[in-house]
Symmetry: C2
Subunit: 224 residues, 2 copies
């Protein structure tokens, strides 16, 4: 479903040139649960941004179901992104003055009737244990509660692929494992592809495959 | 050195009343390395904000070296905070268009000569492995690199007390343990008090004492 071929990403700054990704080859099939591990700065978020069509590689190919993403216009890429992907960003990207319920409703705005939208958003928040924080704004929520709002938002449109960048980073182990159970259920029951960045091995092992990055290269790729 | 007596924090919102902290009694001696654990939403950041004089309790007493913090004016509290505490915030609070070096220099602005400031800031960044990212702005840094800039910034003024809220949340295990070694060295060699929130038990156990919060109450307090 997803193929990266010889993918490279180079950032040029005044200070220096950073080879964030260095000739990555990676195939991800539909319905796979994949974890990505690696040291801080090894290129995980950069890889997720390219997978999610939020950023373009410097060279190499990115094919989704055989379609070359670089052949699309910005508009076509944005539409593909909205149709395929749900994101949990490493820094959540919640909107400051919107309640948890409104944040989670937002991706549904173009899709369905008003009453169903609120219900779906409430159900997504309930699945991450936040039903009693629905009307709170981000600055009234703890770090882990904000992270869970971001997770609920990624689930609500039933995307084909969920890209989750450190989704349990701010969560205690019990809450983190509840989130992993949700992702596993989405893979096993709905056939959704989940690609998860984490630095915790016991979280990575909820997946069926773990790849490890180092200095922008894939140094290991294992079934678990 | 630090005494909390019958400390309570209540948030009132339109939606509901939250008892974030519920009659906390806690004594922390100078030069102690203390970890605080507990579920997402259990009150850890609220406790850290009160300890760091960033927020006031709803009731109860907070004494620092016998001084009742509530007896101070806002100015006096701000000055005490600047003199005593170094912070690593759960969401880092980096300044958007400033380089890593400038961020870490900032707390030194009122303290020492210009040339020493840059050197001290560079040394703090080197201790967290970021010497080759000194001139990068936050949006050019990975999540874990941003977290490490926040850590370096907390160290640079040699505060008496470091309040670190999930300082390894975005770091792989190797990098996380390097940070813990830095904190441990500050406690053992410089007699600095380190109060650390974490949800990872193997990180909490670098400290000598672990307290656990649940629903705003201390439910356990153990030597490790
Ligand atoms: N400004 C506020 N108004 C209303 N409620 C708040 C406010 N700030 C925090 N809370 C609530 O107080 C509780 C404790 O929050 P706190 O940030 O201390 O939790 P925490 O233990 O740090 O959680 P986490 O591990 O997720 O960071 C949460 O349930 C949160 O919703
Ligand atoms: N816009 C940018 N300009 C320059 N360098 C960048 C930019 N964005 C990222 N980098 C660099 O690219 C490297 C990889 O960054 P990336 O965010 O992918 O790391 P990561 O593996 O997600 O790290 P972490 O675990 O700390 O989140 C880092 O060394 C970072 O400094
Ligand atoms: Mg990252
Ligand atoms: Mg917190």
């Amino acid at each position: 479903m997803i193929e990266l071929k010889n993918l490279t990403k180079i950032y040029k700054t005044d200070a220096e040139t950073v080879n964030a990704l260095n000739s990555i080859d990676l195939d991800i099939s539909s319905g796979q649960f994949l974890s990505i591990m690696g040291q801080s700065g090894s290129g995980k978020t950069t890889l997720m941004n390219i997978l999610g069509c939020l950023d373009n590689p410097s060279s190499g190919k990115y094919l989704i179901n055989g379609l070359d993403v670089s052949s699309l216009s910005d508009d076509q890429r944005a539409r593909l992104r909205g149709e395929l992907f749900g994101f949990v960003f490493q820094s959540y990207n919640l909107i400051p003055r919107m309640s948890a319920l409104e944040q989670v409703e937002l991706p549904l705005m173009y899709q369905i009737e008003n009453k169903d939208r609120k219900l779906k958003a409430a159900q997504a928040l309930e699945s991450v244990g936040l039903v009693d924080r629905m009307h709170f704004n981000p600055n009234q929520l703890s770090g882990g509660q904000q992270q869970r709002v971001a997770i609920a938002r990624s689930l609500v449109v039933n995307p084909q692929v969920i890209l989750a960048d450190e989704p349990t980073g701010a969560l205690d182990s019990n809450t983190g494992e509840e989130i992993m159970a949700i992702f596993r259920e989405l893979v096993e029951i709905k056939g959704i592809t989940v690609i998860l960045v984490t630095h915790e091995l016991h979280i990575a092992e909820f997946a069926s495959r773990v790849i490890t990055l180092k200095d922008g290269l894939i140094i290991s790729d294992k079934k678990v």
